[in-house]
């Protein structure tokens, strides 16, 4: 277990569930630190196609109490594995349209390797561990819950 050699502001590592639009630009500014030489950001966007079906919109259901506590665990694990300065994650709930940002992860660190690795770790874990479900509404009029086998690589 590596210890983190950088000062970390209390509450700087944060997971949040949002019912309004994510603003990546405002969020990345919160990660600014004069000691940071690298920033890596990831965004999950709602796309118009999944498994060959045309998607019109999407609804996220989130069980907040556990989504937040599990997200906090993920951020803490990332800080152990890839020491960085700051990391945050915001996930949407409710109805989203094509092109909307469903999830944002940002990491700042002195060097780029930790920024990339921590960001990747966080999004990978968030997708498979947080109690969040999405229901897709298709052009055909059908709708369906996406399961993790189908979305694992997205």
């Amino acid at each position: 277990m590596k210890s983190c050699c950088f000062r970390r502001s209390p509450g700087a590592d944060l997971i949040r569930i949002a019912d309004t639009a994510i603003d990546p630009d405002a969020l990345r500014r919160q990660l600014f630190d004069p000691a940071a030489g690298a920033y890596c950001g990831f965004e999950g966007w709602i796309r118009n196609l999944n498994e060959g079906e045309t998607v019109l919109r999407l609804e996220y259901e989130v069980y907040k109490p556990l989504a937040v506590s599990e997200g906090e665990k993920v951020l803490a694990e990332a800080a152990e594995k890839f020491p960085h300065l700051h990391a945050q994650c915001v996930h949407r709930e409710g109805l989203l349209e094509i092109g909307d940002c469903a999830v944002w992860v940002g990491v700042s660190s002195p060097h780029r390797d930790e920024a990339f690795q921590a960001c990747r770790y966080i999004i990978d874990q968030v997708k498979v561990r947080l109690p969040i479900w999405k229901k897709e509404f298709y052009a055909s009029g059908d709708s369906g819950w996406v399961n993790c086998e189908r979305c694992a690589q997205h």
Partner: protein
Amino acid sequence: MKSLTVRYFAMFRENAGIAEETLQLEAETAADVFFATRDRHGSGEPLGHCKVAINDVMASWESPVSDGDEVLLFPPVAGG
């Protein structure tokens, strides 16, 4: 027999037609609750693809359940 509150989420809730119910069950573990309620949440999903929490703490399917527990049944998650 134990009195257990079972909460269903997403697909499980839609299949069950209710968000939660209190049941009297012969159940030792979270897995027992999953199988005892399978007809209600109507899932063909294998246990290994689903998750469970007990009293708002993530648990494993082997976790024991006690009288009065709230058991949360999560279908396969799909964040991001």
